[in-house]
Symmetry: C2
Subunit: 218 residues, 2 copies
C-alpha cells in the first residue's frame, strides 16, 4: 500500500469505498464519537484517522465540523423517528410501552449525542432545529393517524401528541442528566402520560371525543 | 437643559435617575422592543434614544446587546414564574385554569419575546438557558409542594410537573407560531393535562399515590 497520499494522521491503510458507502461509514464514526463525547471534544482529525482517509477527503464530504454534525443528526433523527414505529403484533398499550422502551434504550446508548442536540449550543443551530422539528412533525402525524384510526380529527389531538413527544424527549434528557427515578418508573409514567394526554384532549374538545374510537384498555 | 453630553441620537432631554431606576427603565424599554420584534431587528441605538440617554451610558449598564437581552430575559422570566402563583381565594382547578390563562395572555402580549427565547439562536445562549432552567426548577418546586400539601413525595411527581411545564411552554409557543386550535381549547387542554399527568405519575408509582392527598374535584 502506497503512503503517497497520507497527510500525517492516517494510521491504517486507506480503503476505497464508493461515495455512499464512504459517507455512511463516516456518519457511523461520527455517531460513535458524538454519542460518547461533548461536541467540543470531537476532532475532525480523529474521524479521518478512524476512517483511514485523509482530512482532505473528509472535508470533501463535509466542509466543516458543523456540516458533519448536521449530517450525523439527520441520520440519528431518522432512526429515532422510526423507533416510534409500532410492532403490529402487539396490543396497543404494549406497543406503546415497547416504543418508549426503545427510545429510552437509544437515549442511554447515545447519551452524549442526546445531550448535545438537546442542551448544547450546536443543538440550537437552525439546521439542526429544522431536522428535529421535521421529524417530530412526521412522528406526530403517524401517531395521530394511528390513534384516530385514519379518521379526520380536530387539531386538538395533534396538540396533545406533539406535547407528549416534547414531554417524552425533555423528560428523558432530564433523566440522563440526573436520574432521579428508576428507569421502569420513567417508562411507566411516559406510557400513562400518553393515554392521559389523549384523554385530556378528548375532555377539552367534545368534537374530538365524538370522532375517536373508544380508548384501548390493553 | 445642557446638550453638552449628548452624542448624536438622544431626542429628548436626558433625565437623571438613580442607578436602579435607570436600569429598570432600560429593561422596560427592552421588554417592549424584544416583545414586538425579532432580536436582530432591535437596535441598541433606539433603546438609548427612547430612554433619552447616550449610547455611552447604555453601554455602561449593558456592555453588549447580548448582555442587555440576558437582563431582559431575567426580568421577564421572573414575571412568568410568578404568574404560576395561585390566587388562594379560588378552588384548586379554577386556580390552575386562571394561572394558565395568565400565562397564555402573557405569551400573546409578548409574542416576539417568547419566540425569541424559545426558538431563536440567542435563546440557546447558555446564560439564557440557565435563567429559564432555574426559574422552571423553582416553579416546579412550588407546584410540587402545593400538590403534595407539603408532604415528602417521590421524585416521580417532580418528573410529571417538570414535564407539564415543558409541555405548556412548548404548546403555547407552537400555538403562537401556528394557532391551530381556539385559545379556550388550548387552555382547557393544558388544564386537563395537568390533572392527567399527576394521575399518570400516581398510576406509575404506588408510593407516590399513597403519599398524595385525594385529587381535587373542583
Amino acid at each position: 500500500v502506497s503512503n503517497r497520499y497520507d497527510v500525517g494522521v492516517a494510521t491504517r491503510p486507506r480503503t476505497r469505498l464508493d461515495v455512499d458507502a464512504r459517507r455512511a461509514q463516516l456518519i457511523e464514526i461520527g455517531l460513535e464519537l458524538f454519542s460518547s463525547r461533548p461536541y467540543d471534544e470531537v476532532w475532525i482529525e480523529e474521524v479521518a484517522q478512524r476512517a483511514g482517509v485523509s482530512r482532505g477527503l473528509l472535508y470533501h464530504y463535509f466542509p466543516t465540523k458543523r456540516d458533519f454534525y448536521v449530517a450525523v443528526v439527520r441520520s440519528v433523527s431518522d432512526t429515532v423517528r422510526d423507533l416510534a414505529e409500532p410492532d403490529p403484533g402487539l396490543p396497543p398499550l404494549a406497543r406503546l410501552r415497547a416504543s418508549i422502551d426503545a427510545y429510552i434504550d437509544f437515549a442511554e446508548q447515545n447519551r452524549h449525542g442526546m445531550l448535545t442536540t438537546h442542551r448544547a449550543a450546536i443543538g440550537a443551530d437552525p439546521e439542526v432545529r429544522a431536522i428535529l422539528a421535521g421529524n417530530q412533525a412526521e412522528a406526530t402525524r403517524r401517531i395521530v393517524a394511528q390513534v384516530a384510526g385514519g379518521a379526520e380529527v380536530p387539531a386538538t389531538l395533534t396538540v396533545a401528541i406533539n406535547g407528549w413527544l416534547r414531554l417524552m424527549s425533555s423528560s428523558v434528557v432530564d433523566w440522563l442528566e440526573s436520574p432521579s427515578v428508576e428507569r421502569g418508573l420513567l417508562r411507566d409514567f411516559l406510557t400513562n402520560a400518553f393515554v392521559a394526554l389523549v384523554f385530556a384532549a378528548r375532555g377539552a374538545d367534545p368534537e374530538l371525543d365524538a370522532r375517536l374510537p373508544p380508548p384501548p384498555t390493553e
